[in-house]
């Protein structure tokens, strides 16, 4: 069948072609319109003429398979695809503005701005990974932002979908991607570990905060392979004022072994959202690269070059949840808090990559919003943080897995729900008090959290004491 012509004004499957907005090595982008669709649209057409790079075709096929499966604000919406038997194309939402690449001239960015930007990318990655997709080409030109500030990831031509055939699997002898950002395991042919994206994001964060690429710009396989054993210079060596918490995050993302990186993108986003709570390890202080003895051991460490069993993205994400325990630190909640700790301990015992955020809501009066000091002048906020750490102490968690948060709010349930939504919490553990004056007056916080949260909620309730005598129960039933 003859290929339809692509030119301004032409029609293809109901789409009217507008202007050509980009001509790249792999594809051409056209604006298109279609009656009934108000969103601005782009049609991406791969370059497939004779002599073109076969990668252009395969990466287009991957996008053709993956884009229609993706949803949510962190990816461009997909409005149609066309196959190779007639005219290959994908029509996607046109995201206004420029990619993050446009900021390259401004590097290094202020630390705070870089923290926010990379936090948004991590949030988008978490959403992508939850849809069983690893991006595999995270770099500034793959990142855009909606006017609302949400990060949108584009270009899925090198991506891996855990539930679809991986067309790049055997296509190329060399790993395909953008050399400076490529995770070391990619050089060994591993394509199913979502933590590869965290490495690339670490490269971006390093680059955006120091102005230097951690592994240079070498495009040769030999040059790229060095990252399998050679760690980058710690950012503090390049910038003396580099914040220790930021170096901790960057170097953890750039760990050679995926298992030493953050378990999930959601956990990385969580750390970036709470820099004051980042557990500082030896990483945060380093000024030198690893000693040569370590580098040599790594270079000849066979573990790194052994193929790993195929991993299931969903299972890997499920093993590293963010768990929130919502605690009441007021008088009279001791028994319930013991139960909550027991439940938390059982959960964490089965999930070695989980992290725990202990939450307490400092209830503010509707009128006296700013009274954070109690009658004795103590800072209630700090007292509560101390109480939360005290509660968590028997769990004996590694500090890097534990954070405490005191939220100040008028409505505790809303505060908990907002915190869990913003921080992509996977599981809330919350106590239910049974005989509380407050509960009678305000309704149950746990019931509302359980009803409205977007994640799993475990409501912990201490076992009631042995039942009251028959006569008392009848009275209670009559009153109900």
């Amino acid at each position: 069948m003859a290929r339809p012509s692509i030119e301004p004004g032409a029609e293809l499957d109901g789409f009217t072609i507008g202007e050509r907005v980009h001509q790249g090595g792999m594809a051409t982008l056209w604006t298109v319109t279609r009656p009934g669709i108000t969103a601005p649209l782009l049609m991406k057409i791969p370059r497939i003429s004779e002599g073109e790079d076969p990668a252009a075709i395969v990466s287009f096929e991957m996008e053709q398979m993956i884009l229609p499966r993706l949803a949510g604000p962190h990816v461009p919406a997909c409005f149609g695809t066309g196959d190779f038997d007639r005219q290959p194309y994908v029509v996607i939402e046109r995201i206004p503005g420029k990619t993050l690449y446009s900021r390259i001239g401004e590097l290094p960015l202020p630390y705070e701005e870089a923290r926010i930007v990379v936090g948004r990318i991590a949030t988008a990655l978490a959403d992508l990974h939850r849809q069983n997709v690893i991006h595999h080409d995270i770099k500034p030109s793959s990142v855009m932002f909606r006017p609302s500030g949400e990060c949108v990831l584009i270009d899925f031509g090198l991506s891996h979908h855990n539930q679809l055939p991986d067309l790049l699997q055997e296509e190329f002898r060399l790993p395909y991607g953008t050399a400076p950002y490529m995770a070391p395991e990619r050089l060994l042919g591993v394509r199913d570990d979502p933590r590869s994206d965290l490495f690339s994001l670490g490269v971006l964060l390093y680059f955006f905060t120091t102005g230097e690429r951690p592994f240079g710009e070498s495009e040769t396989l030999r040059g790229m392979r060095r990252r399998l054993w050679r760690d980058p210079y710690p950012p503090r060596k390049l910038r003396a004022d580099y914040p220790p918490w930021l170096q901790e995050i960057v170097l953890r993302c750039l760990e050679i072994e995926p298992v030493w990186r953050y378990p999930t993108a959601a956990q990385l986003a969580f750390e970036l959202a709470h820099p004051d709570q980042v557990k500082l390890t030896a990483r945060s202080e380093r000024l030198q690269r690893d000693p040569l003895s370590t580098v040599w051991r790594r270079r000849f460490n066979r573990d790194l070059t052994q193929p790993k069993p195929k991993s299931d993205i969903a299972a890997q994400l499920a093993a590293g949840p963010i768990v929130v325990v919502a605690l009441d630190t007021e008088e009279g909640s001791a028994a319930l808090n013991v139960c909550l700790r027991r439940t938390a301990a059982q959960l964490l015992a089965t999930l070695p990559s989980a992290r725990l955020a202990c939450l307490n809501v400092l209830r503010l009066g509707r009128i006296t919003l700013d009274r954070t000091l109690d009658e004795q002048g103590n800072n209630k906020h700090i007292d509560r943080m101390v109480a939360l750490r005290h509660w968590a102490q028997p769990l004996e968690l590694d500090e890097s897995r534990l954070t405490v948060h005191v939220l100040e709010a008028i409505d505790p349930a809303s505060a908990i729900l907002e915190f869990t939504a913003v921080n992509q919490v996977d599981h809330i553990v919350i106590g239910a008090r049974q005989h509380s004056m407050l509960r009678a007056l305000l309704g149950s916080v746990s019931a509302r959290v359980a009803a409205e949260a977007a994640c799993t909620v475990t409501v912990v309730r201490p076992r009631r004491l042995a039942s009251a005598p028959e006569s008392a129960r009848e009275v209670a039933a009559d009153q109900a």
Binding site: P54, I57, V58, E61, Q64, M65, D83, F84, D85, P88, N162, Q163, L164, P165, D166, L167, Q169, E170, E171
Partner: protein
């Protein structure tokens, strides 16, 4: 299109014309594709019910209707009825062995074939013997083992066998069974292969720019560690294949095998999915 329940409780799915004519493959047609039924009535009934519920408009049987299982008469009658109503069926090595004593099979399989032969009527045996080795419908090829040498009953263990099969046909998609483990292979325009173990219930678009070999799991004797019956649905307009798993009364099927004096391993392996 019309669907009906026959007197035997079998769900029969008729094409529009109801005369068995080939459809051209254009337009939206939902195909239900079954391989390696192996005389397992419980499994095939469960799969047919699911296919019917999913709006299957056309049935494809990729061979090995009999062998191993204890209900060969029922299975052959069921497939004969489906073919009368427009289904496509091709021959498998166990179907072929009913009329050909020279087959090289393991002892259990051979015992089941001997037993089956005695159970089938003349018309049933003739139906099996006359099934074609392969059938092409539009850009789709249906064959039991693989397309390169269908009568040699070779297994597709990996990409090299898959590549040989794909290269041997002009069809864009080949559907086969025989190995009792689901897999999906593709060959790019540059002749590079990909292999994939399908995720149940996740549709995969069989992209037009490459050629595919869809290896189906077995209805009646799965061997991938999952005892649930396996089949696939294909939407010919969106070109999406969905591999399906159907739980069925495995214990009942195994009991039928034991009760008929067939080798016990044939019953045990159903429970294990091996």
């Amino acid at each position: 299109m019309r669907c009906r329940f026959t007197a035997r409780g079998l769900i029969s799915i008729k094409t529009r014309a109801g005369t068995g004519e080939m459809m051209d493959g254009e337009g939206c047609v939902r195909l239900a594709i079954f391989a390696d039924i192996h005389a397992n009535r419980q499994a095939f009934e469960a799969c047919l019910a699911v296919a019917h519920a999913r709006g299957a408009e056309r049935i494809i049987c990729l061979g090995d209707v009999v062998g191993y299982g204890a209900d060969p008469e029922w299975a052959v009658d069921a497939v004969m009825g489906l073919v009368e109503d427009g289904a496509i069926a091709v021959i498998g090595n166990h179907d072929h062995a009913i009329g050909n004593h020279s087959e090289t099979m393991n002892a259990e399989a051979q015992a089941a074939i001997e037993w089956t032969r005695g159970r089938l009527s003349g018309p049933q045996r003739r139906f099996l013997a006359e099934l074609p080795l392969k059938r092409q419908e539009g850009d789709r090829l249906y064959v039991h083992s693989e397309a390169a040498h269908p009568a040699r009953w070779r297994y597709v263990h990996g990409t090299s066998e898959a590549a040989r099969s794909i290269e041997a046909t002009a069809a864009q998609v080949t559907f086969c069974g025989h190995i009792h483990r689901p897999a999906l292979y593709s060959m790019s325009s540059a002749a590079k292969m990909t292999s994939f173990i399908p995720t149940s219930e996740v549709p995969v678009q069989l992209l037009g720019g490459r050629r595919w070999l869809a290896v189906l799991g077995s209805v009646g004797q799965p061997r991938d560690g999952n005892p649930a019956a396996s089949f696939a649905m294909l939407d010919t307009s969106s070109r999406e294949i969905t591999y399906c798993r159907v739980p069925y009364d495995v214990e009942a099927a195994a009991e039928r095998i034991r009760a008929n004096g067939l080798p016990h391993w044939l019953a045990d392996r159903l429970l294990l999915g091996r």
